[in-house]
């Protein structure tokens, strides 16, 4: 580098989790960012959070100019996210009520010259470095003259540039009315960073998404990325840069079923994820229960997330196969959380699972069933969420077990609704075998990354003394299940004394 470029792009963290990932570092410093979106998309919250974060994390004073809502409402809004607005207002933030009272009459053209002069004085008085113009379109539309509106925007942009301020402009665009978008169609050209927020309804569930349209001089994620407005503000569900190198697997974690551990060569690898698929009633939750009980018995913190089934029912059902979770729930070692599938989008589910993980700090997690995610908010979004959940757990060294329902009746159709099987480390399939008027459960390991595993189909036996697998099929012999197996075992027992560990119930 021969000489230092004064125009070199610097960035400031947006303070929004995930947004910095998709913009490769945050907002352009001392430049203009444009946030566009329909009504209720979260533009104001986005902008406010960026301002609050700059004040809180970097002690950068800022100004919020509110053209639509009253400043008081915006402050109150910020307080609902737990941001300490009164303290910030006292020292670092200034809110300007720039909404026009309804009784104000317009009689001719006006401009922003005075406002910008006032703001410049205020900014230098308080040392503000970042400024939000929220709903700038509300003021500009009063001009009712496209040429004048354009001129004022350029005036604003120029003012931001000369005062070396980081500017955030929000403006409404209406997807249904292309005219409004066109009206301010030049805005993205003017801004250094243009971001589009949107909200749509998919399967009756509202899904919010953010897309970086442009970012002058910086790489950014082109795709639309989901976001939620949670209890602490905006969180963008970035899937960028979270694909870590798989850690070398070493430590094993018991599945809670001794014979299954043997089949896997010692259990799951610590920090990996396992998928258990099977049709309804095949016993997926029971395997999950066995795994979580084993974790608690080792003294590890655990989290059991179930969709559409309450914890009490699960605990009761598991107690019939001698899995007792009650004491671990009582001690706090285990937390069980029942989530209603339809109550939220898959993105919101992800955020709440993330929160639960942060609160419980588990080493072992069960999500039962993961396929519930696919039922709301579209399969693609759910798949992305599933992936991020997997990476989240892997990064945290959490060993996670997912169950997934196979929707089809065909038991040979070995795919999952979310196609997570391709990214899961281990995959166990439970199928039904119908023979001689009996329905028996058969378990097989379809894949187990990084370790040798048994390829055998084994009968899965649930009984009042526990869960286990039947003996493997003898070489050359027939696979016997249920009554036939028991008869054979009894016969063998009479002969040489070897038998399955678990009694028939």
């Amino acid at each position: 580098m021969s000489d230092k470029n004064p125009d070199l792009l610097e960035k400031i963290s947006s303070g929004i989790e995930g947004f910095d990932d998709i913009t490769a570092g945050g907002l352009p410093l001392r430049r203009t960012t444009l946030l566009m979106g329909g009504p209720g998309c979260g533009k104001t919250v986005f902008a406010l959070q960026m301002l609050v974060s700059a004040a809180q994390r970097h002690s950068t004073p800022g100004i919020f100019v509110a053209f639509e809502e009253t400043a008081r409402r915006i402050v109150a809004n910020g307080e609902t996210f737990g941001w300490n607005m009164p303290a910030l207002e006292e020292k670092q933030l200034f809110f300007l009520d720039a909404s026009m009272r309804s009784d104000v009459v317009k009689a001719g053209a006006f401009d922003l010259t005075g406002l910008l002069a006032s703001l410049a004085a205020k900014a230098s008085q308080m040392g503000a470095r970042i400024i939000v113009f929220d709903a700038i379109d509300v003021l500009l539309s009063l001009l009712n003259d496209p040429v004048a509106e354009c001129r004022e925007l350029y005036r604003l942009h120029e003012w931001l540039t000369t005062h070396r301020l980081t500017g955030i402009l929000t403006t409404k665009v209406d997807d249904n009315k292309p005219g409004t978008a066109q009206r301010y169609g030049f805005m993205p050209f003017m801004a250094d960073c243009a971001v589009l927020l949107s909200q749509r309804v998919s399967d009756r569930v509202a899904v919010r998404a953010v897309r970086v349209l442009k970012y002058r001089g910086s790489p950014h994620v082109l795709n639309e990325v989901p976001f939620v407005i949670g209890p602490t503000g905006v969180e963008v569900g970035s899937s960028n840069g979270v694909h870590p190198e798989p850690q070398p697997f070493e430590e094993r974690v018991s599945t809670g079923i001794e014979r299954l551990d043997e089949m896997l060569g010692g259990g799951w690898f610590r920090g990996t994820n396992a998928l258990i698929t099977g049709s309804s009633g095949s016993g997926k939750s029971t395997l999950a229960g066995a795994y979580i009980e084993a974790a608690c018995l080792r003294g590890e913190r655990a989290l059991f997330i179930s969709f559409d089934e309450n914890a009490r029912d699960i605990v009761r059902d598991l107690s019939t196969v001698a899995i007792d979770l009650a004491p671990h729930l009582a001690s706090g070692l285990l937390r069980m959380e029942a989530v209603r599938t339809e109550a939220a989008s898959s993105e919101e589910h992800f955020m709440s699972i993330k929160r639960l993980i942060a609160e419980q700090q588990p080493r072992c997690v069960v999500v039962d069933p993961l396929s519930a995610l696919a039922r709301v908010g579209g399969g693609l979004a759910a798949r992305a969420v599933a992936e991020r959940l997997i990476y989240l757990c892997r990064n945290a060294g959490i060993t996670v077990l997912f169950t997934s329902l196979l929707e089809g009746i065909d038991p040979h159709l070995e795919t999952t609704t979310l196609h997570v099987s391709t990214i899961s480390d281990s995959w166990i399939q439970i199928s039904y075998s119908l023979e001689d008027g009996e329905r028996n459960r058969a378990l097989s390991i379809i894949k187990s990354r990084g370790s040798k595993h048994s390829g055998q189909l084994r009968e899965l036996i649930f009984s009042h003394i526990g869960v286990t697998l039947a003996d493997p099929r003898p070489p050359g012999g027939a696979m016997l299940m249920g009554t036939l197996r028991r008869e054979k075992e009894d016969a063998d027992h009479a002969g040489d004394g070897s038998r399955a560990r678990v009694e028939k119930s």
Binding site: A98, D103, V105, A107, D111, T113, L115
Partner: protein, 107 residues
């Protein structure tokens, strides 16, 4: 006090406060328009206070002035804000509660 009929422009002093931004075109126009309107409608009883936001930038913020030019009719009450360069005379008169000029009247 005159509160019953603000349209009656022959009584009571009209006090106006006009916020401008230095020599910005809209501001210059607003000053001229305001003097013209006042001379025409309140020839004997008006007072105009002009505040240059460029010289007193923080005052405008404190007084909740957003755009320039902004005209505030301080008295007679109630207070009324009119934004713009006041070139739309009918709008100004309507806001002040005065009858509009003859040319625009349609009866």
């Amino acid at each position: 006090m005159n509160e019953s009929n603000p349209a009656n422009h022959s009584n009571g002093a009209h006090l106006f406060r006009l916020y401008v931004a230095g020599g910005a075109p809209n501001s210059v126009r607003a000053i001229a328009n305001l003097y013209f309107i006042c001379r025409r409608h309140f020839p004997e009883s008006h007072r105009i206070e002009i505040i240059d936001v460029l010289k007193e930038p923080l005052r405008a913020l404190a007084e909740a002035i957003v755009v320039t030019p902004t005209l505030v009719k301080v008295s007679p009450g109630p207070e009324q804000q009119i934004i713009g360069n006041l070139s739309e005379e009918d709008e100004v008169l309507r806001a002040l509660g005065l009858p509009q000029t003859e040319s625009k009247e349609s009866k």
